[in-house]
Subunit: 372 residues, 2 copies
């Protein structure tokens, strides 16, 4: 068995999410919580129904507070070192749903310092270019610019660094070593960095002299940062944040690891053209079907290993339609190529809209970037 | 023999400066260099004549450049965690002389982040108060406000942090461990901090799109920061800084360690009143004299161990007068109490002027604090 490693700087092996729940000490999002959410939002987002967002820390407390009339704010982020792909998009589209349904502020952090410090071969200037490009994609998602605030670590260091040192004073290198697997050969910026990622948990409250809860939707590899943060922010007199954990969208090529921009054949980028999308999916998407059409008709396909089927969980939000596809693929009525064609059409629809909005995003950036 | 330790976070034992020169790999300021300086400045500052500023790195290069018409800038600083004492004052009064004689810009860093991160029992707010108080003392020294720029690490993080991460990417924790004796129990902010202290070496050039030399006058315990910095800034395409090293002004109580604000009986603070000065010197200043007046008249005093004699090197700038005092003390003509009285008068003069200027400094701070 491949050993599983899941932290912000390494995701390896086949991921057993039930085991991660135990290892990380987090909780599954259960039916009771879904019912409470539905009472507020009027609907359950398909990512919740389908256990894509599957686990949490302290969601009950946040809902208690919200039900008693207290607002919270959302905090999520992006490490700008390459193009945005559908894995990012799906998490952020869920964040947008949360913002719309709960009517709350969103603080969106661009961790340009982190990416510069961790990536040996990227220059400062390259990371700045990616920050700009990634901001365009985030703006294109359609967040409410009145309620969405971009924080760029280097650009907002004037308000972030003074808070980060308060955090840093409470974290030893021993803790960092244990959480991220670092050694004495790590550079001192990368060692300090987690303090910067902690700041947005309480910065909005410091700036606005409030004491609201913070809700962090994230892909589960980011959890180790906040395991440290949660203890530290409490020591600093702030509320522990609530966290919602998402599973990784699998790479096109199969079920281990996570989607990543560093190998663009394994994922779909937000800037890919319809023909690229078609080629990538047809060529690389791992098939759960049989060797021959004849055999497939007889035995049917495996929806669990078929990447097109799995990805449709993210993009076909109609439960009945998805169930029909799964049923027909399992029975052999639908061929792998046909499921791929359905996925291609869905993604084309999403990306053509996104790419249109992205063209206008340039003019919007100024509204999104926080002014301190 | 007490083991000597000299780094920014520990100064212990009796200090053998000749050995430090070897250990640190620095050079003595020799007659040839003094002659070159005099050619430019018209005089040799007593701290140079008296080997208070006694060693350097790359001073030749800086003078070569200056003689060929290139300017340099000065960089020095203050760790704001307590009141300013005569040890600080003496180093900075020499910096002022350099600024005046060479007619150059001075960048003065207040390392409030450092002091907050290193001092367990100081709050962020206490350090901010000391920063304000210390800025008043620095402003009161009479630096030219047109050519002097205060950098406060937290306040100027917007321009400093982006440069600090470029530095930090090139320094591993192994290097920090070796230079400062740190362990895994150090907090991650203190580990990162040396990157912030490196930034002013090249920030003025980045801001002004120039490539001038940087001259750093400092007390020798700060050298380890810049031993690391010098290699790093060169890798980043900047000039290695020139460094001038000062010996420590000994504590009132005797010759080991350095003057420190953390024990105010061992030093004179810039805010001490004439009566406090008199009491401290008479009560605490270690005497090089004999047990009885009779014995003193016969055997004479020891100018090397007598703190009043040693301190007069800093404050009696007239060589003839100082020589006379030393001669008469050695011969037994002058008693310890009489030398103390001379020192008290000198210091009273300096501090009463300083305290007057300090009253006006409040209105000047805004002119000194750098506007980015």
């Amino acid at each position: 068995m491949t050993k599983t490693k899941v932290n912000p700087y390494e995701v390896q092996g086949e991921i057993n999410y039930d085991r991660l729940i135990k290892e990380f000490g987090i909780k599954k999002i259960d039916k009771e919580l879904l019912t409470r959410i539905k009472k507020i939002t009027g609907e359950i987002h398909p990512y919740l129904r389908r256990e894509i967002f599957f686990a949490h820390r302290d969601l009950e407390k946040l809902l208690d507070a919200y039900e008693s009339g207290q607002k919270f704010f959302l905090y999520t982020g992006c490490g700008p070192s390459g193009p945005i792909h559908l894995g990012h998009y799906s998490v952020w589209s869920f964040v947008k749903w949360l913002q719309d349904k709960f009517d709350v502020e969103l603080w969106f952090q661009f961790t340009d310092d982190e990416k510069f410090l961790y990536l040996k071969n990227k220059t400062y200037e390259e990371i700045q270019d990616w920050t700009k490009q990634n901001m365009l994609d985030v703006a294109a998602l359609g967040f409410n610019p009145e309620k969405t605030h971009f924080l760029i670590d280097t650009k907002h260091a004037d308000i972030m660094y003074p808070e980060a040192i308060r955090v840093a004073k409470k974290i030893t290198f021993s803790t960092i070593k244990a959480s991220f697997g670092f050694t004495d050969s790590n550079n001192i910026g990368s060692i300090f960095y987690t303090a910067m990622q902690t700041v947005p948990i309480f910065l909005p409250n410091v700036l606005n002299k409030k004491s609201e809860y913070c809700l962090i939707p994230l892909a589960i590899d980011q959890d180790p940062h906040f395991r440290i943060s949660r203890d530290v922010v409490q020591k600093l007199g702030h509320k522990k944040p609530t966290i919602l954990h998402a599973k990784f969208m699998s790479p096109l090529t199969g079920a281990t690891g996570k989607s990543s921009s560093s190998n663009s054949s394994k994922t779909i980028l937000m800037t890919d053209s319809p023909s690229t999308i078609k080629t990538k999916i047809n060529k690389y998407a791992f098939s759960g079907g049989q060797e021959t059409t004849e055999e497939h008709r007889k035995k049917g396909g495996n929806t669990e290993t078929d990447v097109a089927c799995q990805w449709l969980k993210y993009f076909e939000w109609d439960d009945e339609k998805l169930e029909k596809i799964y049923k027909e693929y399992s029975s052999g009525k639908l061929l792998s190529g046909e499921v791929k064609a359905i996925l291609i059409e869905k993604i084309n629809g999403i990306l053509s809209e996104h790419q249109e909005r992205r063209k206008d995003a340039e003019n919007q950036l100024d509204k999104f970037i926080f002014k301190s």
